[in-house]
Structures are given as structure tokens and as C-alpha cells.
């Protein structure tokens, strides 16, 4: 299936001209994950499997709640459990629903070499268009959150689609619909930011003085946001404090590309012009040379 026509594309991987974007009034959407309301039931994992028709291999229990232990080509969202001591002697159990953050400035899209394999819709959702994926793994290098996983079966990259197919017809993502505690909400980004800040304020009143909204500016903000109890230390839950696209990726996909093309074309052009101006070093006339030598 190609990208949904009902969702305008505003950015397209490996494409240097503007994609079709006739409709300009599409509201930005966002999913808000409030970890203070999460009970770790994994209903979101099940709903994701069900809606997207995914069946990961049954793994083994490692003695912790994490199962599966990490995202995979068949598990696009995974509950991660962290036993942390934010202050000495104050054990806390933090639970974070891991998955694609749907960056406003997506590193995967920037790194992707295949035209149209990664797109960003006008509503902010970043989607992998599998039929155009060539399996190179550049998206993995571009992503600041270590999200894309490549299938060993078909060598295509997979990640959360934010249920772009559901959102395209006015439904909320499957994980949002199923969440029994209302920890996951979905709506216009502005509303979600306001609600997230309100929730953070409520948490502060209840003693979590560093509670806050995780909507990192380094990637232009994200369309999946968290309300964190310890927003000052997102690394407690394996979240980067200041995520941004790696400078290596920016160099590789930014300056290096035009410079390299100019260098290679320039070298060929310089050769051609040199030949036209100076001309070749001719092979000397043998007869004349021989005369010289004989003399």
C-alpha cells in the first residue's frame, strides 16, 4: 500500500522538489503518553499487534516485566520498565511505552536514500512506505531515538505508523483506543501540549517537583509526547535528554552531498577544459627522435 492520499505529504525522503501538498489546513496531531497514569498492562502492545496484524516470535522471560525486551520489526511498541532511585533510598518504578516519536524534523527521513520510502504527512505523522524501502538501514543511523528495526525476513524497516491508516479516516491510534486508564490520549498537537502541561502541573502539586512534558526541541518537537515524573532526567528511562539528529548524519546528508557532486563533476569538467586549452602531450615522432639519438 502506498501512502494514503487522504493525508497530504509534506516531506518525502531523497526528494529534492516539493511533494504534493494542496491541502494546507490539516491540523497537527499528537499522542500524549502520561506515564503517571500507566499501569504497565501492555494492552497497547496487544492493540498494536492486533490492528497492524503483527505476530512477534514468542521470546523467553528474562525475569523482568519487559516482554518482548525490545522493539522489533514485529513489535512496534513495547512497555519498558525501569527500577530507579531518583533520590537515594526512594525506589520508583517507571514505565515507559517505547516507540516512534514522530519527530517534526525526522532524522530517519533525512538519512533515507530511497525516494518516497519515508514520508511525513501534513498532520505530522512520519510513515515508512515499505514498498520503496531498500533495506539499507540508513534510517537507523538517522534516528536519535533508536527506533527503526529491519526485518530479517524481508529486509524492510518497520516502526510505529501512529496508525496513520486509522488517523486518516478520523479514528484515534489503536493503542489510544485500548488504553484502560487513559494514560494515552490523542488529538490536535496544541491541545495535547496544553493537556500535558496541565498534567505536569498536577503532578508537581502532588510532589513530583520535576514533572514535565517531553516534547524535545532538538528535533523540532515530536508528535508523540510524554508526561514524565522526572522530566529533568529523561535518561532515567532511556530517553535522550536533548535528542537531535547526529551531526555526522547532518554532515553526511547535508554539506557532503553537494560538495562531493561538485568535486566529481568539477574534476571531469576541469580535465575536459584543460585538454581544450592546453592540448595533449603528443607522442614524439619516432623518426625525428631516432635521428636525434643517432646524431
Amino acid at each position: 500500500m502506498s501512502s494514503l492520499q487522504s493525508q497530504d505529504v509534506v516531506a518525502r525522503s531523497a526528494t529534492t522538489t516539493p511533494p504534493p501538498q494542496a491541502r494546507s489546513h490539516v491540523p497537527q496531531v499528537a499522542k500524549l503518553i502520561d506515564e503517571s497514569k500507566c499501569i504497565g498492562c501492555k494492552a497497547c502492545q496487544v492493540a498494536c499487534m492486533e490492528w497492524n496484524d503483527l505476530r512477534d516470535e514468542v521470546g523467553s522471560n528474562l525475569g523482568v516485566y519487559d516482554n518482548p525486551t525490545d522493539l522489533s520489526a514485529q513489535s512496534w511498541t513495547v512497555m519498558k520498565f525501569f527500577e530507579v532511585e531518583p533520590k537515594d533510598g526512594s525506589l520508583e518504578w517507571l514505565i515507559r511505552k517505547d516507540g516512534c516519536m514522530h519527530c517534526e524534523d525526522p532524522g530517519c527521513l533525512k538519512a533515507c536514500p530511497s525516494p518516497g520510502a519515508i514520508v511525513k504527512y501534513a498532520n505530522g505523522i512520519v510513515d515508512f512506505i515499505s514498498e520503496h524501502c531498500i533495506g539499507c538501514g540508513y534510517c537507523i543511523k538517522g534516528c536519535p531515538f533508536d527506533i527503526p528495526r529491519i526485518s530479517a525476513t524481508d529486509n524492510k524497516a518497520y516502526k510505529c505508523t501512529l496508525c496513520s491508516d486509522r488517523v486518516g479516516i478520523g479514528l484515534e491510534p489503536a493503542c489510544v483506543k485500548t488504553c484502560p486508564t487513559g494514560a494515552i490520549t490523542f488529538g490536535p498537537k496544541d491541545d495535547m501540549v496544553a493537556y500535558g502541561n496541565q498534567r505536569a502541573g498536577e503532578l508537581k502539586e502532588r510532589g513530583f517537583v520535576n514533572a514535565g512534558l517531553y516534547n524535545p526541541a532538538g528535533v523540532g518537537g515530536t508528535h508523540v509526547m510524554y508526561v514524565l515524573k522526572h522530566a529533568d532526567r529523561p535518561e532515567l528511562e532511556d530517553l535522550p535528554a536533548n535528542p537531535s539528529i547526529s551531526s555526522m548524519v547532518s554532515l553526511w546528508k547535508g554539506l557532503a552531498k553537494p560538495l562531493a557532486l561538485a568535486g566529481m563533476l568539477g574534476a571531469a569538467l576541469a580535465g575536459f577544459l584543460h585538454y581544450m586549452k592546453v592540448g595533449p602531450i603528443e607522442e614524439n615522432d619516432d623518426a625525428k627522435d631516432d635521428e636525434k639519438e643517432d646524431a
Binding site: K141, G271, Y275, I281
Partner: protein
């Protein structure tokens, strides 16, 4: 009929052309994934996934074939006393002053630089390439290492391509050179003109 000197035997020539063909194939499949404007080159290899699959094999084969040239020619490409005078005059020679070609041996300093640039860039390409060769080797390397590796890979590739453009142009520019690689021989006057010390060596050896 001009008198000829033997410069490359059949094995050396075939080795060179195997490297050249693999360079073109690895280069085109690599450029296809380097810049969006060159993605159309994937069509040459049967599409995007096939370009991605074939590129590392083509590149590795090129590097292994080049190893044959390296073993054969590295000792001809060490520095020599005669190099300095040639390097000092490269500007004049490029401006078309034909009176100043200092005597050099089998290879001039420009050719030596091409040899070592190709050797180094191929080495970097192979080493960095392994770190993100999917699906077999990439899982053993961290994302941070791969991010550095892709940049170095691109830089080395551009160095190799530009060096090869210089290499090809030099062969077009200096008439009588091409047949060294197509027929294996060069004329005595070519050798006297461009590689005087090598010419002497060859005549004395006879």
C-alpha cells in the same frame, strides 16, 4: 613501425581491467544511494534493493582485485630522488610547457600519488563498509560507529572517484599511454619523453 617497449604483461592488464570494471559497477551502485539525483542509477542494477545488495559485494571484489595490483606495483611506487624535480615542474607541465619534463623512473610522482590515494581510499571504504553491511555485519556495530563510518565511507568514495578521474584524464592527456594498458607496450619515444630513467633502465637491461 615504431620500436616498442613492454610495460604491462597480460596478467597485469587483465587485473587492471577487472578492477576498472568493478570500480564502475561499485561506483555507480554507490552513487545511486549517495545522492537523490543519482538514484535513477539503481535501475542499472535492477532496482533499489538489488543495488543495496550488490554494492558491498562489488566493492569488496574491487578491493580484493586491487590487492593484486598492489602486490604487483607497490615497490614501483615508493619515493625516489628524481621525484622532487618533477613535482616542482608539475605546474609548468600542466600549462603546456613541453620543454620541462624532468627524468623520472617507471612512475612519476603524480602516478605514485594516484596509487597511494587509491590504496588508502579503498582500505577506508572496505573497513567502514563492513560496519554497515546489512544484514550480516551491521548488527555487530553500534549506531555511533556506523554514523562515523558512513561519513568516512562517503569521503573515501569521493577521493577514489576524483583520483580515478585524474588517472583516466592523465591517460587521455599523455598520448601513447593508453596502449600500455590495452596492448601492454609503449613506444620508445613515449618512454624517452615521459619516463626517461625507466627508458634507460629498459635499454640497459637488454
Amino acid at each position: 613501425m615504431a620500436r616498442m617497449l613492454s610495460r604491462y604483461n597480460a596478467r597485469e592488464r587483465l587485473n587492471h581491467w577487472v578492477v576498472a570494471i568493478l570500480f564502475v559497477l561499485a561506483g555507480l551502485s554507490g552513487l545511486a544511494l549517495f545522492h537523490p539525483s543519482l538514484f535513477f542509477l539503481t535501475n542499472v542494477f535492477g532496482g533499489g534493493p538489488w543495488s543495496r545488495i550488490l554494492h558491498p559485494f562489488l566493492g569488496l571484489l574491487m578491493a580484493l582485485s586491487f590487492l593484486g595490483l598492489f602486490v604487483r606495483f607497490w615497490h614501483h611506487n615508493l619515493g625516489a630522488e628524481s621525484d622532487k624535480a618533477w613535482s616542482d615542474n608539475i605546474g609548468k607541465m600542466l600549462r603546456g610547457d613541453k620543454s620541462v619534463t624532468p627524468a623520472v623512473g617507471r612512475y612519476n610522482p603524480g602516478q605514485k600519488r594516484v596509487f597511494w590515494l587509491m590504496t588508502m581510499s579503498l582500505f577506508v571504504l572496505v573497513v567502514t563498509g563492513f560496519t554497515f553491511w546489512r544484514p550480516w555485519f551491521a548488527p555487530y556495530f553500534s549506531i555511533d560507529i556506523m554514523r562515523i563510518a558512513v561519513v568516512l565511507h562517503a569521503v573515501a568514495a569521493v577521493v577514489l572517484v576524483i583520483t580515478t578521474i585524474v588517472h583516466i584524464y592523465a591517460a587521455i592527456w599523455v598520448k601513447g599511454t593508453m596502449r600500455a594498458m590495452t596492448r601492454g607496450t609503449v613506444s620508445e619515444s613515449w618512454a624517452r619523453r615521459n619516463h626517461a630513467l625507466w627508458y634507460k633502465e629498459m635499454k640497459q637491461g637488454k
